[in-house]
Subunit: 119 residues, 2 copies
Amino acid sequence: MDERQALAAFAALGQEHRLRVVRALVTAGPDGLAAGVLAETVNVAGNNLSFHLKELSHAGLITSRREGKSVIYSAAYAGLSDLVQFLMRDCCQGHPEVCAPAVAALAACDCTTGDTLHA
Amino acid sequence: MDERQALAAFAALGQEHRLRVVRALVTAGPDGLAAGVLAETVNVAGNNLSFHLKELSHAGLITSRREGKSVIYSAAYAGLSDLVQFLMRDCCQGHPEVCAPAVAALAACDCTTGDTLHA
DNA sequence: CCTATATATCAACTATCGTTGAAATGTAGA
DNA sequence: TCTACATTTCAACGATAGTTGATATATAGG
């Protein structure tokens, strides 16, 4: 992930409605949520949500698929993972105190059991 | 870190000059950089940079201290770490495929040797 | 084919953000 | 104290982003 992509991703996440959408999709899992359900969840008008979903899609943070009359959106796990890696990429240039806490916190999250982070 | 703080942090990082400032400060380490040096590094006018530095400071991503005539800025490692944790907090609700790659990537970064991530 | 449902597009408006230039503040040395 | 240097503040302008309402597209069922 280069700076331009990271910039787009951060800008996308720096908006209330879009951040809520991403969090809703991340917690919803790979099955995703229909645009209409998302609109209710985030409490945003459909046409407006559509604008934000396009933004998130361009930023590589979500993906979509059509399923009958609905369009189902889900989190782009790879994109999110890349963004985390980008944030931490420069943290280790001789200064382990930067990333050590973050690594420790993530390591404490046992993904195989479905536990959540206790931040 | 609550949603409001995360929102401010993401919005702060979603701006070209500010993202460059943060990266410059993260790589600079705990010693930090003077405002003037940052202005040259990021190629932004001093008064304009001052605006962005205030924004980043409010978002909890950087800190400052005066040293003689200069004001030295450094990365707020705790703030950055919190942000990473916030991004990953909801990743494990029964769907380990979300955060597993990110955790693996961070684990591959041996902070004690000063190695950087190979993303 | 016609209608209902679900989502997306577009133009227009408003608000917010980023930049600029001028001026103020704070610090150190002559 | 006077001057030079470093940074910040402020008002004003231009650009960009978010919302809204109206309209368009796509799909399924009667």
